[in-house]
Symmetry: C2
């Protein structure tokens, strides 16, 4: 029997017109991660990209349903998310993850799992006071009332990225402007035939 | 801000020309799961399908690197595999999984995670004596010598599927004939516009 040639990532990239990879959104609750991840998914899908969003709900309702919200289990949840994102990336999908992922050490561990140029840290930036004012899910209010423990920004720290690959400031920019920054970033780093595709 | 329309599975199916889903290969070590999964991936990719293989190596080197080979951890590994496969299915990918998955109760639990028609149990059938004679990875020999414990077929049972969606018998059929059965099955159940796409 002849040896089978596994389908290589490069064959998938050629079909999709872009490489796979991960846009790892990080930011406070209320910073705009959900809105921007879903808008970006829609925009990129319309442009023909193979693209998918993974978020906390998808994880917690599925592969991480066995995990608690302890510090240890939150790290484990992010580790699993990273592996799922890597899987998508390796089959040529541009994977957008949308979780707070507050700790630098977790994000560094995740970057270390990936090939060079595969992981792109995207800081969805807004101040705590703005996020608490927006409070789209009412979580800050519950945290202030003690109904949620260890909520990021209130009882637990958020460590901003030290050198994110891209930053969008949702306090000073509207959704459309943020989306433009992100879609241009994606075109520059993921599309095939783009000279400066590698690098962050 | 307008409400974002998440990209629906149906939009992805329309782009791919087929629905997502899972072909869950099960069978003894040496039955031909790896050969057939990789050959099928290649054949379907060439036909334009969005297709990917997940196997034990991918799991154990990645998201399941923290798990042992105890009975409990083997079940957990399959649970995670099922969730990864489901993720792929939901973004319109035809996911082929290739693991022994010896226990009926594990496979039933996995089927229960999925939507109707999403999970297709594929029995890669060969007798224990044939598999032990082939012994492509030398694992049966090691198991007989006691170097591997709880090896399926030797110290641990293999429970054949009671009502598999499709069976390929690799003792009586060559690789090409098996592949024909599988690609025809896929065309009938996954391609858009096929009358009897649902059902098993």
């Amino acid at each position: 029997m002849s040896v089978i040639q596994r389908v290589l990532p490069e064959e998938r990239y050629a079909r999709h017109g872009h490489v796979g990879g991960i846009l790892w959104f990080t930011g406070l609750s209320g910073a705009g991660k959900t809105t921007l991840s879903e808008s970006l998914e829609r925009a990129l899908f319309q442009q023909g990209y193979a693209v998918a969003v993974l978020d906390g709900d998808i994880m917690r309702q599925g592969i991480s349903a066995d995990l608690s919200f302890s510090a240890e289990d939150r790290s484990e949840n992010l580790r699993r998310l990273a592996h799922m994102a890597r899987l998508l990336s390796r089959i040529g999908v541009l994977c957008i993850t949308a979780t707070i992922s507050p700790f630098q050490r977790d994000r560094a561990a995740i970057r270390a799992l990936m090939a060079p140029g595969e992981f792109h840290e995207v800081y969805i930036k807004a101040s705590l006071s703005t996020c608490e004012q927006r409070d789209p899910k009412g979580l800050y209010r519950k945290a202030r009332q003690g109904q949620i423990k260890a909520f990021t920004g209130i009882q637990s720290p958020y460590e901003p990225p030290e050198s994110p690959d891209v930053v969008v400031d949702t306090e000073s920019m509207g959704v459309e402007a943020c989306l433009n920054v992100l879609t241009e970033y994606v075109a520059r780093h993921f599309q095939l035939g783009t000279p400066n595709r590698s690098g962050g």
